[in-house]
Every structure is written in structure tokens, then in C-alpha cells.
């Protein structure tokens, strides 16, 4: 089903969506666009290229409380925090980010060990994808084409959205999407012309140019395995690296977390908080030993995890080429360039 509205009526669309569940959509903030829970429909803003932090934070927030307890009381009195299963609409997700959910599902539910918090939100969510603007060039940091992702791929979305001039075309991709779209008022029917534009856009998206290098999952895995002991290669790659957490926090497919207890006035919370393999204490063991004390070891781990170990274990590269890690890296380290170098080696 294809429906349409106009960008001028975006807030009406948002209002309609808010009636269906919690709406999370891009909003403009001081530091750029971010996905935020919408309370004011007028704040939804589609004039963005992509958000600073990826939408993984919607299903896997940076801080997640598990258990609340009082210090000095028996364990039985601790109260677990129940997963949230409220209907949720995640609006305006770029195709590469939509793809990331598929990869993340492997970790949070796919292997059989189900993370109830992720799962509850994921199941309750409808994803409204949004094609990149094919009229403008890709940003220099992006390389999703390398990972086989088109600029207008509707796969993974429940509804996929394409902009046509001042019109917004919404097409249901899944049953869930169809149900949602059907139940919504205020939308106009789309013309055959619109239908065609939608299909053309999806097709054109596949050829849309981002940075590209031919990366075969098997090949890069092997290359990286061979390079593992090439310290020189990794030192060069990491000379500038600061070991901060920007790349991992911005990344849509990084999922590492730490579990910590925070107490105040004897009221304790056990919560998970994003962690980053680039942090020096990420691998610090209780004994005081740290297997990865060098910067190059940590950067090597990150690249390998995404392009080698992940492939060996799950068969897919754990990167969607969104370019966030490069864009926000304080010292301009570029994962694409490193992968490119590795392919050449």
C-alpha cells in the first residue's frame, strides 16, 4: 500500500503516529540531529542527513536499568526492572541504519540467548525507513555501498518513506507496516506516478555512489587474519588514535556494554552502560592484567571484530558503512581507508 502526505504536513503525520504508540524520530539539537522520543509533533524534522548517534539507542539505550535494590537487604528483596513492551514507532531511519538492526538482532536474540529488553522493544516497534536524498551526493565519510546497502533499500523497514518534491511517499513493506498505515487518517492515496517514482527510487538507490571498494566478506576476513601480527600495519593505522569511545558510541552495530552498580543513599541500581573496546580499561581484568594495553591492539580488535571475527562467527560483516565513526573521530581515523589498505595488503 502506498500513501502520501506532504512535508508541510509532517507534524500531522507525526501526531497521527503518536496516537499509535511512542514516536521516536529525528529532531534537531545543538549538536546535530538525534533520535528522540517525540512529545511535540512539530519537533520532528526530516531535513537531516543522518543522526549523530545511531538509532540503536532506541532498542539498546546507553543506560539500561536491570535491578533496583537496597544495600544491606537480602537479595530476595531486590526488584527487577521489567522490559518495556509499549508500542513504538521508529521514524525516519536511513536504510544503512535499518540494516544494522538485523545485525544487532544476531547478538540480542538471534543466537538463542534473548535479551528481553532489546527483544521487547524490537517486537513492539514499527520501523519507518527513509531513503537518502538521491539528488545530493553522499557524504565523504559514507561507504554503505561497499557493504552492499542501497541508499533507498526498503528491506527491514515496516514502512519505507521516499521524498518526492514536497511529497512524502509511504509504502508498507510488512504486514505490521500495512496495518499501521491502514489505521492512520490524514493520508492521501498515491497515484500510479507516485508508485513508479517509489520503485525507481529504490532501484536508483542501489546504484547510488558512496565510497566503494570491493570487499568480499571471506576475502577481508582472510586478509585481516594474515595481517594480525603485522604490528607495523596496525601501528600506522592507530598512530593518531586517541582511544576515545566516539566511534563505538556512534556506531549502529557496536553493542558492548558494562554492567555496574550505582548506589546513592543505600538505594542501588544495577544497570548496563555502553562500553567501548577502545577504552583502556575495557579489557582490564580483576587481577590487574590487561591484555590490550596498546592503542594498536585495541584498534586492531575493533576492525577485526567487525570485518573478521564477526564474519567467521555469524557470516556477515558487522558494519553498515554509515560513516559515523569516521565523521565523529576527533583525529579523522577512517575505517574505510583501513579496510581498503587491508584489502591491498
Amino acid at each position: 500500500m502506498l500513501k502520501k502526505t506532504t512535508v508541510n504536513q509532517l507534524s500531522d503525520l507525526a501526531s497521527a503516529l503518536m496516537e499509535k504508540g511512542t514516536l521516536v524520530a529525528p529532531v534537531r539539537e545543538d549538536a546535530g540531529f538525534q533520535f528522540r522520543e517525540i512529545t511535540d509533533a512539530k519537533r520532528v524534522d526530516l531535513n537531516f542527513h543522518n543522526t549523530v548517534i545511531s538509532p540503536k539507542s532506541v532498542f539498546f539505550p546507553q543506560t539500561e536499568d536491570f535491578v533496583r535494590y537496597r544495600t544491606g537487604r537480602p537479595m530476595q528483596e531486590a526488584e527487577p526492572v521489567e522490559p518495556q513492551g509499549k508500542p513504538l514507532i521508529l521514524f525516519g531511519v536511513r536504510p544503512c541504519d535499518v540494516k544494522s538492526f538485523e545485525i544487532m538482532d544476531i547478538h540480542f536474540s538471534g543466537t538463542g540467548d534473548v535479551d528481553p529488553y532489546w527483544q521487547a522493544r524490537r517486537e513492539a516497534a514499527a520501523i519507518i525507513g527513509y531513503a537518502f536524498d538521491l539528488g545530493a551526493p553522499a557524504e565523504p565519510e559514507e561507504f554503505y555501498q561497499t557493504l552492499g546497502i542501497g541508499a533507498a533499500d526498503p528491506e527491514g523497514s515496516d514502512i519505507f518513506m521516499v521524498r518526492r518534491g514536497d511529497d512524502l511517499l509511504l509504502k508498507s513493506i510488512t504486514g505490521k507496516g500495512e496495518a499501521l498505515l491502514t489505521g492512520m487518517g490524514g493520508l492521501a492515496g498515491a497515484s500510479a506516478d507516485d508508485e513508479k517514482f517509489f520503485d525507481d527510487t529504490v532501484a536508483a538507490g542501489r546504484d547510488f555512489k558512496t565510497r566503494f571498494t570491493c570487499v568480499d566478506a571471506e576475502v577481508i576476513t582472510k586478509k585481516l587474519e594474515d595481517l594480525f601480527h603485522n604490528t607495523d600495519f596496525w601501528e600506522k593505522a592507530s598512530n593518531a588514535c586517541l582511544s576515545c569511545g566516539v566511534c563505538t558510541f556512534a556506531c549502529p552495530t557496536c553493542y558492548c556494554f558494562d554492567i555496574c552498580d550505582e548506589t546513592l543513599f543505600q538505594q542501588g541500581t544495577r544497570r548496563r552502560v555502553w562500553d567501548a573496546c577502545m577504552f583502556t580499561d575495557f579489557t582490564l581484568e580483576a587481577s590487574g592484567h590487561n591484555p590490550r594495553t596498546k592503542v594498536y591492539q585495541r584498534l586492531r580488535q575493533k576492525i577485526n571484530h567487525k570485518y573478521s571475527y564477526h564474519v567467521r562467527k555469524y557470516g556477515v560483516i558487522s558494519c553498515v558503512g554509515c560513516g559515523r565513526c569516521t565523521r565523529y573521530c576527533p583525529v579523522n581515523i577512517d575505517i574505510f581507508s583501513i579496510v581498503e589498505e587491508a584489502m591491498k595488503a
Binding site: R70, G72, R73, L264, F265, Q266, G288
Partner: protein, 649 residues
């Protein structure tokens, strides 16, 4: 998980009056990890201590909190209880609900609420306490006594008699101090010199005492049990090893200066011994007064000295002594009353200060013991003015304590030696001491006139220009008195030595508001100081008379002995340590430590601590940006936990 016992003391009604103690104990029992909470009338009493000891065993306590008076009061007492019960003494926490709660409020609700907050803080912190072990160090068996007045002499002799080596350091060229200037001592009126000089002599003769006159301490390093003290021997220009004390030099010397011993009433030579019974009985040259030093010519003393003991080229020398304990007995100065213009001291020749009068009475003094005015005449009326600069916000707030009694003594001696009328102008007569009130009564009966009123002004008499007028209100009659006298005796305040601050800095002593050295506790540790191993005796602590000074000296000697009698000494364990894994090698600790305890281990790239030098202030811990320095017993997490506990309620 800890097992904490909380023991709330009533301190009779001291605490129980403004803190609901049983409610506090009840509250404690609701706090995490508290397994037993009790209140009791006197926790420091034997049954109180036994109760704690029993509960430690019975409830297998691993932390004890005593909620009572200040830790400065009874921390040691309760630490011993823990130690005796097999629990590390540093697992004790004291909550101060007496000095800082019950005594500073009248409100039962407020007091109880604050006590709860403090207790909660203590429970939070207590859980994080770690057992600590004390360091054991070797103890140097020798002692240094600083100051050769009666206090220093007495302490040195006491210690030397126990077989300890004593270094007696005196800044003047003789020992004896102020007591050597006195004529008679109250209330017994025995001769000061007669009781002091034998002691001075014993010092000189004692094989265990190394007498160091004309010496000053220039640097103090180390710590209790192991002080390294650098002493400056000031040049005397006379080789005391060669000098045989024939004193031919002093006869020939043309240089003159005022005699300090005689309070400037007469002159002495440039090469001199301060007084006939000086110890050591060897002359020194006063550089300021010496003709050779001033004009480059003379050397008469050198010519007459058969021993060739004169050495004009002598320089100050420095030596280091190692001792285990120190007694500071540096005495006092008399306030300079020139600033109190209303009394005319320094302006009118008839106005004297107390020490000058002591010299006038003394048969070895400038007048050979005759009481005469500066013009040689005998005074017909004498006014003795009490509290000059003492008990006075405008100069010194403290009571100098001995003035009443020596003023009475003066009155007696004036009566004995002259036919003058003697008046005492006083605010209160303070005669608390053995035989003192009796002495006061005796003086009243000697027909000394007592006028209760502080003198407002001493002026020149208009009618009789040679006489003085003393003006005051007789507060008993309410009449204004103008009294013509020939002599006015001021009883000035006894004040800390002018260099007391320097001594305090050298030995790390605190000083009180007046500048006297502060004792660790006014009642329970009156001779100890905040510096471990440094004791104080005599007037440097506060004004007192000779019997009290001697008693303190004996006490300080005993205190010093308790340290040096042992071969080994346990020190407080609350020093700092470095967690090398966290050290970021910024070396801030090395930069700030006043004691040089932290040092940088270059090969390892981390700071380390020389714990023998550490005094546990924790400065390094707070300047350590990566929290690598752990200040034992005051760790970051302990302080934070306590804060959190305090702020919860």
C-alpha cells in the same frame, strides 16, 4: 558484608540530656550491616568496655562504632578494647556526639537528629575500614632539652639520672634562665640562687649531659624516635676547652655593654661571664660591644690570656645530634611596657619593671641589695601595679599568674629593706597555691596598702617634680585616688619568647592565641604536643611559677623517657601508599610533600612512599589526579562514604 556493633554512650547526662540515646541505638540497628546496637551510661567505664569486648566475641563483630565523646578524648581507650578482643584497632570508629552534638545544643530533637546523621556517616565509612598495622621503628635512646632555665635544667638532670644521654641546648652563654635573676622565691622567701646554682653545677658535672650553650637549633628532621637536629654553635671567640676561667680578660677589657642579667641597670664588659655563678664559668665575647670587632684594634684580652684561648677568627659551626625525644623549655619574655604609655615606663626613671626590681633586691645586683632609686635615694612611697599588659584585650588577654604572688613578695621585701609606704593596685589577688593565701595574709598584716582598682595613669607630680602621681579609682570606695609615690613597680605580662613562632615551626608545634606552645590536651596531655616525641615544660606552655615549672619538667622528662626507654616504637599506621597500577607518574605527590616522603621510581615509572617519613596528612592523596595514592584510614572511598552517610538524613 561487615558485622558492625554500635555502642551509644550516655556519658551520664552529658549526652543523654540532649540526645535520645536509646532512640539512637534503635536507629543504628536499622542500618545496613549493624548486627548489634546498644546504649550504656558510661561506655568508657570498665563495665562499658567489657560490654564491647563481650559483644565483639558474641556477635563476631568485625567493626566497632562507639558513639560518645570526641575521638581526641577516648579513641585510644577504645582502640585498646578492640586490640584486646583480637580485632584490629583501626576497625574502630568514634562518633563525636558529645563535644559536637550534645554540648552545643539544648534541643533534644535537633541533637538526636544530628547524632543520627553522624552515626549514619560512621556506619557508611566503617564498612570500608581496613585493618592497619603499625610500623615499628628503632628508637634513639638520647634526648634533647631545649632551654637551660629551671625547667630545662630539671628535665635534663632527671633524664641524665636515669642514664640517658641528654643534650641541653641553651641560646645564652650560661644556663640558669630567669630564675638566676630572682632574689627570693615566694612564698617561702628562700634565696633563688641558693636553690638554683647547685642544680646548674650538677648539669655541668653530669657525665650524661652534654651542655651546649650559645647554641640554637637550626633544623629539625626526622620524627619521633629518630630526630636529626642540626645545632648552630654561635661563635664565642673564646676556646672553652683552653680557657681556665681565670677571667683576667674580663678585667682588662675596655668594651662595655649593658648587663642582661642585671636588666640593663648596670654595665658589663665586652668579654664577660653573665654573672658570677654562670655555668659554664667561661667568658664569651659580645661582638657588638667588642672594641676589636668595632674598630679593628685592641685585642687586650688576647694579650692577657695565658691559655691562648681567645680566637677572633672563630665562626659559627653546625653539628647534628640524633635523639629520640625532645623537651622544649624555652621560657618566656617579659612584655615591653614602653608601649603602654599611660604607665610612663622608659619615660619616668621612677618606673621599674618587675625583673629590674628583682635585681635591686639582690645582693649581687647593681645596688648590692639596697633598694634605691636611680638617683641613689631611698623611695618613701612605692606603688606596685598589677596586671600590666595581662588580662587586657588591648595587649595580652591571659593572666600571667605569678604577678600577684611576686608583687606580694616585693611588698614584703620593700617593707623589709626600706621604710617606704607600699601600695598594691590590683584587680583581683590570685593566691591559689600551697601556702600562698597564708603569704597574702602575712603581707596584709605587714601593713601593705591594698587598693582595688587598676591604675589608669602614672604622671609626673606637679607639686613635687621628683615624684610621681599614680591615678586610679579605689573601686571599693568609688573615690578617685591621686597618690604621690617615688617608685612605681610594674608587673608586666609574661609573654612567649619573641622567637617562639620559629621554634614552633622547627618542631611542628601549634601555638595558642597568645603564642604559647599548645599542649596536645589541656588536661590529659598537658606536656605532650601535636608533634609526637616533642614535649613542653615551663612557661613556654603558659605562665606558671617555679614549683609548677619544676613539676612539669619532671613530668616531661618522664614522658620523654617513655619513648626512649624502648628500643622500638610503634607509629600510627595511617600513612599513605601508592597503587602503582593507577599512578600516572605526574609526580605531584613528590612536588608537594612537606616531608619528602614520596619519591619517583624512574625505572618503574611510578611514585613510591618512604613510609618512615610519612606523617599521614593526605595532601599527596588529594593532589593525585588518578587517585593512585591511598591515604590509609582516610581513603577517598571512606571519606565519600562518610559524606554520603552524613547527607542521607
Amino acid at each position: 558484608m561487615s558485622r558492625i556493633g554500635v555502642f551509644v554512650c550516655h556519658c551520664g547526662l552529658n549526652i543523654a540530656k540532649t540526645v535520645r540515646v536509646s532512640e539512637l541505638a534503635q536507629f543504628a540497628s536499622t542500618l545496613p550491616d549493624v548486627v548489634v546496637a546498644k546504649d550504656y551510661k558510661f561506655m568508657c567505664s570498665t563495665p562499658g568496655q567489657e560490654m564491647i569486648a563481650n559483644d565483639i566475641r558474641e556477635h563476631r563483630l568485625d567493626r566497632v562504632i562507639v558513639t560518645a565523646c570526641s575521638p581526641l578524648m577516648h579513641e585510644q581507650t577504645f582502640r585498646k578494647v578492640l586490640a584486646a578482643s583480637g580485632l584490629n584497632q583501626y576497625l574502630l570508629t568514634i562518633v563525636n556526639i558529645r563535644e559536637q552534638v550534645s554540648w552545643v545544643t539544648h534541643d533534644l530533637d535537633e541533637g538526636t537528629a544530628k547524632a543520627k546523621a553522624l552515626l549514619n556517616g560512621a556506619v557508611s565509612r566503617s564498612r570500608l575500614l581496613m585493618p592497619l598495622t603499625s610500623r615499628v621503628i628503632d628508637v634513639n635512646p638520647d634526648v634533647m632539652v631545649l632551654g637551660g632555665g629551671i625547667a630545662g635544667i630539671q628535665a635534663a638532670l632527671e633524664l641524665a639520672n636515669t642514664g640517658r644521654k641528654v643534650y641541653l641546648v641553651e641560646k645564652n652563654s650560661t644556663i640558669g634562665g630567669h630564675m638566676a635573676q630572682f632574689d627570693k622565691t615566694f612564698p617561702t622567701l628562700d634565696c633563688s640562687a641558693c636553690i638554683l646554682t647547685p642544680k646548674m653545677d650538677s648539669v655541668l658535672q653530669h657525665k650524661n649531659i652534654q651542655l651546649m650553650t650559645s647554641c640554637e637549633v637550626s633544623e629539625v628532621k626526622g620524627f619521633v624516635g629518630n630526630f636529626d637536629i642540626t645545632i648552630r654553635q654561635k661563635a664565642r671567640y673564646v676556646d672553652h676547652n683552653k680557657c681556665n676561667a681565670c677571667l683576667a680578660c674580663t678585667e682588662k677589657c675596655p668594651g662595655k655593654s649593658v648587663s642582661e642579667w642585671d636588666e640593663g641597670l648596670v654595665k658589663r664588659k665586652a668579654i664577660y661571664i653573665p654573672f658570677p655563678q654562670a655555668v659554664p664559668q667561661k667568658p664569651v665575647i659580645d661582638r657588638e660591644a667588642c672594641t676589636f670587632f668595632k674598630k679593628g684594634k685592641c685585642r687586650l684580652c688576647e694579650k692577657v690570656c695565658e691559655q691562648k684561648a681567645i680566637d677572633f677568627g672563630e665562626q659559627d659551626t653546625f653539628s647534628t645530634v640524633k635523639v629520640g625525644a625532645v623537651i622544649v623549655a624555652t621560657g618566656y619574655d617579659l612584655m615591653d611596657t614602653r608601649d603602654l604609655i599611660q604607665y610612663g615606663y622608659g619615660k619616668y626613671p621612677g618606673v621599674y619593671n618587675a625583673l629590674e626590681v628583682e635585681r635591686l633586691f639582690n645582693s649581687a645586683g647593681p645596688t648590692s641589695g639596697k633598694v634605691t632609686l636611680r638617683d641613689g635615694s631611698e623611695p618613701k612611697a612605692i606603688a606596685i601595679l598589677h596586671c600590666i599588659g595581662s588580662r587586657d584585650k588591648n595587649s595580652h588577654e591571659h593572666c600571667s599568674r605569678v604577678c600577684c604572688m611576686y608583687s606580694l613578695k616585693f611588698a614584703h621585701l620593700f617593707k623589709e629593706k626600706t621604710s617606704a609606704d607600699v601600695y598594691q593596685f590590683y584587680i583581683d589577688i590570685r593566691a591559689a597555691g600551697k601556702g600562698y593565701e597564708e603569704f597574702y595574709n602575712r603581707i596584709i598584716e605587714e601593713d601593705v596598702k591594698f587598693i582595688r582598682g587598676k591604675v589608669a595613669r602614672v604622671a609626673k607630680s606637679v607639686d613635687e617634680p621628683d615624684r610621681l602621681i599614680v591615678e586610679a579609682e579605689d573601686t571599693i570606695t568609688g573615690k578617685f585616688i591621686k597618690l604621690p609615690v617615688d617608685m612605681v613597680v610594674l608587673s608586666p605580662a609574661m609573654i612567649p619568647r619573641s622567637n617562639a613562632k620559629d621554634v614552633a615551626r622547627l618542631f611542628n608545634l601549634s601555638t595558642d592565641k597568645q603564642g604559647f606552645f599548645m599542649e596536645r590536651h589541656p588536661k590529659l596531655a598537658p606536656l605532650s604536643t601535636m608533634s609526637e616525641g616533642v614535649f613542653i615544660a615551663g612557661v613556654c606552655q603558659s605562665p606558671k611559677d617555679i614549683p609548677d615549672t619544676v613539676a612539669q619538667a619532671n613530668g616531661a622528662a618522664a614522658e620523654a623517657l617513655t619513648i626512649v626507654v624502648k628500643d622500638k616504637l610503634e607509629l600510627e599506621a595511617t600513612t599513605v601508599m601508592v597503587n602503582p597500577a593507577s599512578c600516572c607518574a605526574c609526580q605531584n605527590c613528590v612536588r608537594v610533600c612537606p616531608y619528602g616522603a614520596p619519591f619517583f621510581n624512574e625505572p618503574k615509572g611510578v611514585s613510591e612512599i618512604n613510609e618512615a617519613l610519612c606523617k599521614g596528612c593526605g595532601l599527596c592523596a588529594s593532589v593525585c589526579p588518578s587517585s593512585a595514592i591511598i591515604a590509609r584510614h582516610f581513603t577517598n572511598e571512606q571519606v565519600l562514604a562518610e559524606m554520603e552517610g552524613l547527607m542521607e538524613f
